[in-house]
Amino acid sequence: MLKGSLRTALLSLAMITALPSCSSIPILGAQIENPVTAARTLDQQAYAVLDTYAVLVEEATKIVADPNVPITIKRGLGAVEKVATPAAQVVESALAAYMRARADFEAASGQSQTTLARAADALSIAGQRLSQAIAAASPAIAELQTLVHGAH
């Protein structure tokens, strides 16, 4: 029962970011909301991914601190966190670049056409990199989920 519950929880973790079309996921009789699908813009999407991940790590900490939970499960969660947190940090870096590019673009609105075009290009590139970082965070979690299953 425990393995099934953990797998379901970890599966939801992967699905929340991997399946943006799902607005909610049923787990243990509860309906887990997918915050990412509520986002309408790129920055909102990035914020939803990071906020969701923060909640997941905080909840995972409670499980790891529980003396009743077997060490193998804790190690599995450790493997997930070890890869997922760096993926979240990549999203953060891409997001910071995107926000700088967006601010530059807004500041360039009264400038020459050349300056404006340059700022628009930079914003476009930063947006693409942020989208890629968000997309890359999901497989990292899903891949580690497979490793956790293998460990059991």
Partner: protein, 106 residues
């Protein structure tokens, strides 16, 4: 689910009370089984509670994102800094808890 687990735990407690009535030859084996079942239920109940808590918290996050999207506003730098600080803190707490768990396991 938590209600079902609670009922099973109560049933186990009731069965444990009957242990003295079991023949001595089987008593140790039955006690061992009940102890194992109790531990499994205890773990399952804690994970079920965590998942329920997770559902509530993700519902809150979704409501927050919906509000930001409905207002059509951009997420601020302060909000991003705050969420990254939470991830950093939570990650450090998680790794510390895992180290403690590893130390206890050896």
């Amino acid at each position: 689910m938590p209600n079902l687990l609670l009922q099973l735990q109560l049933l186990l407690a009731a069965l444990s009370a009957l242990l003295p009535l079991i023949p001595a030859d089987f008593r140790a084996k039955a006690a061992s089984f009940l102890d194992l079942a109790g531990r499994a239920l205890s773990v399952s109940a804690s994970v079920a509670a965590d998942v329920s808590d997770l559902a509530d918290r993700l519902t809150d996050v979704r409501a927050e994102i919906e509000a930001v999207a409905a207002a059509g506003r951009a997420v601020t730098g302060d909000e991003f800094d705050a969420v990254m600080a939470r991830i950093t803190t939570a990650s450090a707490a998680f790794r510390a808890a895992l180290e403690t768990a590893e130390a206890a396991a050896t």
